[in-house]
Symmetry: C2
Subunit: 164 residues, 2 copies
DNA sequence: ATAGATGCAAAGCGTTTGCAGGCCT
DNA sequence: AGGCCTGCAAACGCTTTGCATCTAT
């Protein structure tokens, strides 16, 4: 896993250079944090705090600018789980469609499942003459652990989760 | 259509009264705007501007409070298209799952298609032991009109749309 | 010298909240 | 009186931007 990280950084360095952009220490630190927390769906603020450990002098604005840059370069993806903060994750290589998210309304955990919409998209494209280039899919519900927790607590039907 | 609107308002009045809440002129004006623009996916600011015509003295905070109230009562639904503003639309009666949205990356138009995820959800529920209570699905792409516009302009492949 | 990149602080934007009244039994 | 409701303005939280400075060609 160690060399894969270094490899990926080299690839990205080339991508940046192709656009006359630099892989500065701040950008590298930000990328390392993102690479080391692939499944974490970090917010900008969370990335910032983690990067501070590696590069204490970095500013929040730089993190925001770096994240925006990486989104534009399609290296990472900006996610929106409706909780008022943008979250970021690495894009799969050359994969236009990301996976789907299962969002637990109780504990807030977000897990991922593979993309299941291929056939559906094709039928939508023909029926609505709408050319689909991407989709955003989230399923809201209760994860296994929270279902069991609720059972043992003997609580009745879980109330509707608040928006924030 | 006229009487259906009045009917719906009476229903909602009862719902409010059941919670010791009142259907004030401001709330009624807000509801009328929402009822008269069912497919429009209005933002709070847009609702506010439309309500101002009917009730010029209303404050933005009241609109926000009314919208929040209606969301809590499950009369309307808060939508998030990732453009940085919350949008609102009426809930279908007793229908837990809303429809899906086709979002055009060129002109920004949002159209609706019926819910197509029933089977998919059941298979996810068993395979991941995740109890699904709702989902959010948006397809991003190019609508029929924008596809044709692009063709006649002779422009090459449309560039990736900016996030905002 | 030139162009990109940075940190800081200030501004921006949508949304929420505190508060002093207002309305309606 | 009491509760709900309102408008206004201020506050809020996340994000963006202006600017002077720095770095590496």
């Amino acid at each position: 896993m160690e060399e894969r990280l270094a490899d990926r950084l080299q690839q990205i360095k080339k991508l940046l250079h192709a656009e006359q952009l630099k892989l500065t220490p701040q950008r590298e630190a930000t990328l390392r944090v993102l690479l080391e927390n692939q499944e974490a769906h970090l917010s900008a603020e969370e990335v910032f705090m983690l990067v501070k450990h590696k590069a204490p002098d970095i500013g929040l604005a730089t993190v925001y600018r770096t994240l925006e840059l990486l989104v534009d370069l399609r290296i990472i993806e900006k996610l929106n789980f409706g909780d008022g903060v943008a979250r970021y994750e690495f894009r799969e290589r050359d994969q236009p469609h990301h996976h789907h998210h299962l969002i637990c309304l109780d504990c807030g955990k977000v897990s991922e499942i593979e993309d299941l919409l291929g056939d559906l998209e094709r039928s939508i494209e023909t029926r609505h003459r709408f050319r689909i280039v991407d989709h955003r899919v989230s399923f809201l519900g209760y994860c296994r652990e929270c279902q069991e927790k609720t059972k043992t607590e003997g609580t009745a039907l879980p109330s509707v989760a608040k928006d924030r």
